[in-house]
Amino acid sequence: MPAEESAATGEPMIRFEDVVKRFGPKTVLDGMNFSIAPGERVTLIGPSGSGKTTILRLLMTLERVSGGVIWVDGEPLTHERKGSKLEPASEKYLRKARQRIGMVFQQFNLFPNMTVIENVMEAPVSVLGLSKDDARARGTELLDKVGMVDFVDAHPTRLSGGQQQRVAIARALAMEPDILLLDEVTSALDPELVVDVLGVLREIAETTDITMLIVTHEMHFARDVSHRVMMFDQGVIIEDGPPSKIFNDPDNERTRTFLKAVLEER
């Protein structure tokens, strides 16, 4: 399948192995298998309810798998090794394992009881044990990178959606994750604010080697920043390839109709 795997020198950064996810009687993912190489930026597209967001939520350990194993850099994420066997991960194991992964949400989810810089400093101080000074320095640098350095002491509720989302990106990056998950990060924004947020993300894509998984309806953005696009439908990957191929000449008829619908909507 994907030629991108050759880019990986050793283990893939992310590997889904027969991953199943059910919500009650509904099967959202039915035996999902794919790998993502270190530094690869992958956009997941497809109609709502096709399982894209579930992939991100499983990786962030916000949901537990119903079956199968997710591997991150050769280590199990959903399970822990007990001797030669794999057992479902304990809460304690997850707390450590998820530190390599960061996520930016559609609704920003900044902490309203903290200022902008406190939001960004929180996890580096309380999880990584950085000193307040170091965390503040790192936070200020990141806020500068996302164009929010003038708002360090502002409260999130005073900011526009686009500004909040840029802070949320800085907050996620402050943990220096290997993997960054972007879950429809511009969907809740007014159109004129989308550009700023996408601009910030483009720059991060260009200047870092973080592995990114992106769920978005911004097809231009997807085409520009991703190495690879995966088209989902009803919990199955129906097409997987470089953006030039998927966007210009998809093999699958459903991909074609989906893209047509999304692009016409704009």
Binding site: M60, T61, L62, R95, R98, Q99, I101, G102, M103, F105, Q107, F108, N109, L110, F111, P112, N113, E122, A123, S126, V127, R171, A172, M175
Partner: protein, 223 residues
């Protein structure tokens, strides 16, 4: 006071009882309210967290204790603790009994206030904590509780006002709070109208402005 005259209202008598009632109010009624409120606020949170516990051996007993406390009247609880517990060797002073019973009773109410406050925190806040790998302790103390406190401040104020107005129940175990003192004046002088009215007015003067303040706070926080 010369008790021969049966006027509707005796001002001399009023001035005689007023300072004593104010003294009892400041020394005991307010003190008991403050101490019981602290018990209610701390224990109420523990009740609320206990009911949320994953372990059913914590959540079930907590549920039943809270329901039991909420469903029995304060005077019964006062009698039970003050006169019943000494039988099993636990002897508390009337004052401590009063503070404990009012505090625990309102802790049961406060646990509901906390529960509503915690349930009102958007799911995204919890998810952001997970995504940042915050420990459960840090999630609660750094993120969830500060937001809960802000949300429940007005209802907590109203609970404390309600608690404040229940302090006269302590008359049943003889704590010398304001209404007990008013009752003693009435008994000694065969005139209840002045002391009881004055006591009522003192309650009104204390609780009405406080509840107005709480309502203002509510509108301010809602913004």
């Amino acid at each position: 006071m010369n008790g021969t005259e049966r006027r509707l209202w005796n001002w001399d008598y009023t001035w005689e009882v007023l300072p004593e009632l104010v003294k009892a109010f400041l020394k005991l009624t307010l003190g008991i309210t403050a101490a019981a409120a602290v018990v209610a606020i701390v224990l109420g949170l523990l009740f609320a967290l206990g009911r949320r516990a994953d372990a059913s051996w914590i959540s079930w007993p907590t549920y039943w204790v809270v329901e039991f406390i909420r469903s029995t009247p304060i005077p019964i609880q006062l009698f039970f603790v003050y006169f019943g517990l000494p039988v099993v060797g636990v002897q508390l002073s009337a004052l401590v009994t009063g503070i404990a019973v009012l505090g625990v009773h309102y802790a049961a109410y406060m646990s509901e206030v906390y529960r509503a406050g915690i349930d009102a925190i958007p799911k995204g806040q919890w998810e952001a904590c997970t995504a940042l790998s915050l420990s459960p302790r840090r999630t609660w103390i750094g993120v969830i509780l500060p937001q809960v406190v802000r949300r429940i401040l007005p209802s907590t104020g109203n609970q404390i006002i309600a608690l404040f107005k229940e302090t006269p129940f302590l008359i049943v175990i003889g704590v010398a709070e304001m209404v007990t003192v008013a009752n003693q004046f009435g008994g000694q002088n065969y005139r209840y109208i002045e002391p009881i009215t004055v006591a009522g007015l003192i309650f009104l003067l204390a609780s009405y402005p406080t509840s107005v303040l709480m309502r203002r706070l509510e509108t301010r926080l809602a913004r």
